[in-house]
Amino acid sequence: MCTTCGCGHGETRIEGDALHSHDHDHEHEHVHADGTRHVHSHSHDGGDSHDHAHAHDHSHGHAYRPAHSHAPGMAKGRMVQIEQDILAKNDAYARQNREQFARRGIFALNLVSSPGSGKTTLLCKTIEALAGRKPVAVIEGDQQTSQDAERIRATGAPAIQINTGKGCHLDAHMVGHAFGQLPLQDDSLLMIENVGNLVCPASFDLGEAHKVVILSVTEGEDKPIKYPDMFAAAKLMLLNKCDLLPYLSFDVDAAIAFARRVNPNIEVIRTSATSGAGMDDWLAWIEKGAAAARK
């Protein structure tokens, strides 16, 4: 269990250490939707040895209802109104992150895509291109290994690796912890490379200024309508690996049309991390956002 905020975060690791083993000074408190704040210490680690005796009968017709129906004659319990968003906790952490970024003039981007879209290569090239112009730091999210953080560190930029274990996305709480360990100058660019997954990261606000979705032209052009939530949540789509277009039957206009069908306001830049095409437009987009975020 985490000593700073009482979280029990399962398999999540930052730079190889479980979330709770760090005695770092990143402040965290639990803020509830009703505004109350406290540090609490429950954990969810009691499940493994627990003898789970009650039977589940999933054979009846109600797809959404596990069959724990009340025994006949069982007294009706007290009703408690909750009316709270399930993601309220994540959103409260995201708000704290966002406030912290704003205080320090940090422009934070949440990079999302399928695995293999070329995110890390694009990120390395972006850092190299920004060298001497803009300080950059990176939070890397992957289920396992620190290979991506090592690739980033090889460019000279500070990077922190979050391993989500079985988790399929970063959440605002993990990012807050990682941010607290990252040596980051004020007025920097913070790139958060999410777990390669076009579904789950769409639902979790990390406190970023924008989500940037990367679609590589080696994927299908209909991905924006197959995975609409992610494209609806993104501010910018980078159409990456464009140097490969001559060898593919990928229809660029169709891909952009699909993306705009889901999100009419999405901006699009065609890039190739390999050839450098489109990198100037991408860097200009970053610098414009960073200038607006500056203290």
Binding site: H44, Y64, R65, G77, I82, I86, N90, R261
Partner: protein, 113 residues
């Protein structure tokens, strides 16, 4: 499979409510899940079962209240039910329509002891 994190979020809300309201057992939970929320209701019910073992919500009935997707057309101003965020207006066929409902994920109510 972010339904697992969502289910953990539901359990946290329940445990916070238990601290506030002083109940020891949850019998039924009603959760509103919007059509456009990006959450698969059946997977969520399955995950809820798994994450609540050994908790005050173990064995609780998990009742999902589905909320349809709702959009308002920029062209004709009318509202349509949406199956997906990119659906066209059912009245005039225009795209896109502005999503005005169906993205919620809320714990509504608990029956407790």
């Amino acid at each position: 499979m972010h339904e697992m994190s969502i289910a953990e979020g539901v359990l946290q809300l329940i445990e916070d409510a238990a601290e506030r309201e002083g109940f020891r057992q949850v019998k039924t939970i009603w959760v509103e899940i919007g059509r456009l929320s990006g959450v698969e209701a059946e997977a969520l019910a399955f995950c809820f079962d798994a994450v609540t073992r050994g908790s005050i919500a173990e064995g609780a009935a998990f009742e999902i209240v589905p909320v349809p997707g709702l959009g308002r057309c920029h062209e004709c101003g009318k509202e349509s039910e949406l199956e997906a965020v990119y659906d066209a207006c059912r009245h005039c066929g225009a795209v896109p329509v502005e999503v005005i409902g169906g993205t919620e994920m809320r714990v509504k109510e608990l029956e407790v002891d």
